[in-house]
Symmetry: C2
Subunit: 234 residues, 2 copies
DNA sequence: ACTTTAAAATCTGTATACGATACGCCCGCA
DNA sequence: TGCGGGCGTATCGTATACAGATTTTAAAGT
């Protein structure tokens, strides 16, 4: 097919499977793949103009990493259970305070400036009522400080539970009373970073996680009394 | 080739790739694969009597999980760096105290009996001077309590850094003064489990991790002054 | 009209084949 | 004898093909 693109330079940087994996991961992290989307290797392969194998590699890799779930009919977003979300709140309380402490101690001014930008953008988006922009900005803020965690192993642990976090974010974002909590939490965390205050950073994130859990539990009870997306027929 | 084994029941439980993955993972966890072993997909495929694809799937999966490293000349054990090991000691201090606390609160008597068996076996092996048996028993003890961590997400985090732990174990096992530390640490942890004492379990594991780090640092300095395995030519 | 059964479509897993790349080795040359 | 360039081989990445399994669809019988 399009195998004649550039044989000699096929992997300008990486393999096709790697490229597909990264693209799909980006879509997953940006929430561009919904719960009812089904990813099938042949379709993905067709989209990228390659054979099934690289697409299959990427999809299997994502599913083994927990970012997708393999069903008998294609790959879908993993069903995140209530229990798992509670487990991950527990895990976050263990690791994220240390992570932000380390960030506060090691962040440089350039990285700090980037974070400041996202915080300002989130606040402005909230004030102008643009929920989606605020969602993206607060996501960039989180990804930003995670990216500069100096302990690489710790960073990987935190990056691993992005999908459940995404689910929680989407659920809690519907209730606008959570928006100032998020923006203020981000601002406080940024301030602690700017002051290189490791203790304040740890305290802030602990409080932020707690508020997030409260908001999640509230969203769950609200959803149970009035389900917003009746799935299929059930 | 041997495609005629049992076509209708080919996946009695799982795919060939999954079987190969699990077998190799077992070998890795039991330390049966040394630093100079090269795993090549064709060889693995030949050993299991299948084509390259399932073998390749398994190998790539292991490498993406961090259990192997893909080189241009086969898959090898990942070089665990000193920095990474220190990072993981940091991570362990964050998550393992909570993990053993949860275990102490939820373990049932059957699981407790299994753990007791491994503790006794390790002590007897140490007293009779059988290092290898003691190594295996203490490994079974650790795998035992990890397996009963009720928080599934937390369990997966801990299971992820098994390879670096394996490296540390091998390095520190050479020095026999560490053996009683390990056996006593396991015994104390078991005792805390048996008493359902979550606080004691957390304290014990913290102390155990600290001793492990000290022993590791000692082993590193000893190795630097007198390298036991001169790598290649350097 | 409802149930039951059979066929077709769809998707996964595996096999085989081919092209490209990287490394090592050998030979020629200085 | 030492060094550099070309060649061979080992290995990976991808393409294509086929078989098994499962789900869906449709048809037929009650």
């Amino acid at each position: 097919m399009s195998a004649l693109l550039e044989p000699g330079r096929a992997r300008g940087q990486q393999s096709q499977a790697q490229i597909i994996h990264d693209v799909l991961m980006g879509r997953l992290q940006r929430g561009e793949i919904g719960p009812e989307d089904r990813l099938v290797d042949t379709s993905v392969a067709a989209e990228f103009g390659v054979s099934r194998m690289p697409a299959r590699d990427a999809l299997m890799r994502l599913s083994h990493g927990g970012y997708l779930e393999a069903t008998t009919r294609g790959f879908v977003l993993p069903r995140v259970t209530h229990t798992e979300i509670l487990e991950i709140f527990d895990l976050r309380r263990l690791v994220e305070p240390r992570a932000v402490s380390l960030v506060a101690q090691t962040i440089d001014s350039g990285q700090l400036a980037e974070l400041e930008e996202t915080v300002i953008a989130a606040r402005k988006a909230m004030q102008s009522g643009n929920s989606e922009l605020m969602f993206k900005a607060s996501e960039r803020f989180r990804n930003g400080w995670i990216a500069v965690i100096p302990n690489h192993s710790l960073r990987k642990v935190i990056q691993r539970y992005m999908t459940p976090i995404q689910v929680v974010r989407m659920m809690t974002f519907d209730d606008r009373v959570n928006h100032p909590l998020i923006v203020d939490g981000n601002t406080n965390l940024y301030t602690a970073f700017a002051r290189r205050d490791a203790v304040a950073a740890a305290d802030t994130i602990l409080s932020f996680i707690h508020k997030g859990e409260t908001a999640y539990l509230k969203a769950v009870s609200a959803e149970r009394s009035q389900p917003q997306q009746p799935a299929k027929s059930a």
